[in-house]
Amino acid sequence: DVKVTQSSRYLVKRTGEKVFLECVQDMDHENMFWYRQDPGLGLRLIYFSYDVKMKEKGDIPEGYSVSREKKERFSLILESASTNQTSMYLCASSLSAGLVHEQYFGPGTRLTVT
């Protein structure tokens, strides 16, 4: 079974703080993703990585950066947290080869910025 873990389930940070969200997958997947989920807006892709040190912007990258130094780990960084970044953050991973590209999701991190 694919396992995707996220470093925190709940996080409370102050405006202006630097925030790190960590995601680890144990199935040697090439692709990793960060989404945010907000009521009424569904899931929106923030960043995507298809290999170590490789990244692509998703639909809403502003205010975020990412780091992928190792294949199994993908970090989302909020350089200076703002209240409009209060959200549920979901990490996912998938294989690159083949047709399926099914994404497997972590449990999510609910971030509150005060």
Binding site: L41, F48, G58, L90, H101, Q103, G106
Partner: protein, 110 residues
């Protein structure tokens, strides 16, 4: 730009009834994914549909894909309370990146 629309966004139904959730997408795609999300939890994969006419069934849920109409349906048969959750469809026109619909929140009442 790929857009994915689900309807309805909210569905309240009685146990034992049947209903269909619709997922329309705006550009050509031959793959469609359905996920389930329980409150406070992450997304769980339900179905992967990989070709026109694909149909998959699991228990009381059946998903189908019509790539020509750019439409997928998730049909619920004889709903039970345990099916209460939010259901998302997703597709792609760019390899590995998925675009998700807004979700359908299903509540099944006893």
């Amino acid at each position: 730009e790929l857009k994915v629309e689900q309807n309805p966004l909210f569905l309240s139904m009685q146990e034992g009834k049947n209903y269909t959730i619709y997922c329309n997408y705006s550009t050509t795609s031959d793959r469609l994914y359905w996920y389930r999300q329980d409150p406070g939890k992450s997304l769980e994969s339900l179905f992967v549909l990989l070709s026109n006419g694909a149909v998959k069934q699991e228990g009381r849920l059946m998903a189908s894909l019509d790539t020509k109409a750019r439409l997928s349906t998730l049909h619920i048969t004889a709903a039970v309370h345990d099916l209460s959750a939010t259901y998302f469809c997703a597709t792609t026109n760019a390899g590995n990146m998925l675009t998700f619909g807004g979700g359908t929140r299903l509540m099944v009442k006893p």
